[in-house]
């Protein structure tokens, strides 16, 4: 059975698996009718993300066409992308753009 991952926006560098995937599975990445292939380097559960291109440490992780965080290490195409290799950069900011107190890295 073909396993799929969904790419939401063309600017995205991760897709979301919509099947439970295991290492070595060849996923079909679907984006508005277009299909590409991506081989899983890790087990990737349903709803989790797979890198569809190589992402360098510090680069933005893109989903919905927006940056959702940044890579905390180099990520290869086909890698599972989750909290172990993504840094959540979000902070609540004051009007001058400075983080409100209590948000340490």
């Amino acid at each position: 059975m073909t396993k799929y991952a969904k790419l939401i926006d063309e600017k995205d560098n991760v897709a979301t698996a919509v099947a439970d995937c295991v290492t070595g599975d060849e996923l079909t990445v679907k984006s508005k009718g277009k299909e590409t292939l991506c081989k899983c380097n890790h087990d990737i559960p349903f709803g989790h993300k797979i890198a569809i291109v190589d992402i360098k440490k510090g680069d933005k992780i893109m989903k919905y066409g927006e940056a959702i965080g940044s890579a905390s290490q180099d990520i290869r195409k086909g890698d599972w992308v989750h909290t172990h290799n993504v840094k959540d950069d979000y902070k609540v900011l004051d009007k001058d753009g400075n983080p409100l107190p209590g948000q340490e890295d």
Partner: protein, 397 residues
């Protein structure tokens, strides 16, 4: 092509006209307690008189003034909701949220409204005797109101996501965003909120605001939530990302927020609304300061004037609201089987790429219009719609 259809989409609906020019999807006599102390009595009247809906809640007393004001505003605006044909306010007599204030507020709408106060009448039996008779006469007078055809300028939808999972941001929320686009482009009004879910995506929403000051109010609402969390020792950024979210594949708060914000798509935002505030500006998309928690959320949406609520879910949230039908839309194929008694619209097809978001959006839009026209939702059919609460900030005295 008839003038009621545009691009294959129905651009009219059939609703109940109200004296203030608004239009309802339902035709209830609302029983509105000004304070939770009289809920039992209100429930008796609801069971005695067909056509009534109890808007029971547990607030109305021992609040700081700002909360009393918010409770009164909410109750007035629930009474003004176009799904309400007439309202009976039931007070105890010593509460902070005074029944006569609620009564006077609803009266502005021109609808039939009356009031009974337990301390004045002398207890439950006397209040039921008078109140049930008033309610019965209200049903007698209003139940014959006929639906008429209206344009989308009279249509107000609300939205929220609840019991979400990874399918929400991939299907149901995106499909709902398409409904937002269709209905606002044709004159409708769409109310979205859930400040907790906006957290992480507040700047993306600010960019969609037609007025930068209104956008800054959205960011302020997020700051307020963060600061109030810190005041009780909680970093709301962390508590908003649940263990279930992370297990389900959500990695960051921004990712979660963008998936939640998708319920309004990229539709421009006309303004920010306080909790339970009725939009006064032009039609279009609004962001209300309602929380994610279902009861306070649906109440805020109904008080804002939404006549139908688009409720996206992943794992299956069953609850509705007493006066505002809530349509459950779900993209999780497993949930659509296991929770089939509670789900109205199945969009797992979007995940399987059987249907595009645009196609599913049109299908959902037409379904929502049919609910506005009178089709009952699952939550209504199951009477799973009595849950109600009003947002307060506290402290409770």
């Amino acid at each position: 092509m008839s003038n009621s259809r545009k691009g294959g989409q129905k651009m009219k609906f059939y609703g109940y006209p109200r004296p203030d020019g608004k239009v309802g999807a339902r035709n209830y006599v609302a029983l509105i307690p000004s304070v939770g102390c009289v809920n039992a009595l209100v429930s008796h009247i609801e069971h005695m008189v067909r056509g009534t809906k109890a808007i029971s809640h547990d607030q109305g007393c021992l609040h700081p003034p700002a909360d009393t004001e918010q409770v009164v505003r909410t109750l007035i605006n629930l009474g003004k909701n176009p799904n309400v044909a007439a309202a009976l306010v039931i007070g105890l007599g010593c509460e902070m949220a005074a029944a006569d204030q609620v009564y006077e507020g609803i009266k502005e709408s021109g609808k039939p409204v009356d009031m009974v106060v337990v301390h004045e009448l002398g207890g439950m039996f006397e209040t039921i005797n008078k109140g049930a008779r008033i309610a019965a006469n209200m049903v007698f007078e209003t139940s014959g109101i006929q639906r008429e055809e209206f344009g989308l300028d009279k249509l107000v939808f609300g939205t929220k996501c609840g019991s979400s999972d990874t399918t929400s941001g991939l299907s149901s929320n995106l499909v709902t965003g398409e409904v937002c686009r269709i209905m606002t482009e044709n004159g409708g009004t769409f109310i979205q909120g859930e400040i907790c879910d906006i957290m992480g995506g507040e700047y993306a929403l600010k960019q969609l605001c037609v007025d930068e000051e209104e956008g800054e109010k959205i960011v302020d609402a997020v700051r307020d939530l963060y600061e109030r969390g810190m005041a009780v020792g909680a970093d709301t950024r962390g508590s908003q990302m649940t263990a279930g979210n992370v297990a389900g594949g959500l990695t960051t708060l921004v990712e979660k927020a963008l998936g939640a914000n998708a319920k309004g798509g990229t539709v421009p935002i006309q303004g920010f609304l306080n909790y339970a505030e009725i939009p006064k500006g032009p039609s279009g998309r609004y962001i209300m300061a309602f929380p994610g928690h279902g009861f306070e959320n649906l109440t805020g949406s109904a008080a804002g004037g939404a006549i139908v609520h688009l409720f996206t879910t992943g794992r299956g949230a069953p609850n509705g609201n007493p006066i505002m039908p809530a349509i459950k839309i779900c993209g999780n194929a497993k949930t659509n089987v296991s929770m089939r008694d509670h789900i109205d619209v199945d969009v797992a097809s979007v995940i399987e790429e059987i249907e595009t978001i645009e196609e599913a959006g049109q299908r959902f839009y037409e379904y929502a219009i049919s609910v506005a026209n009178g089709k009952l939702t699952r939550a209504e059919i199951l009477n799973f719609d009595s849950g109600m609460e009003i947002l307060i900030k506290g402290p409770v005295m």
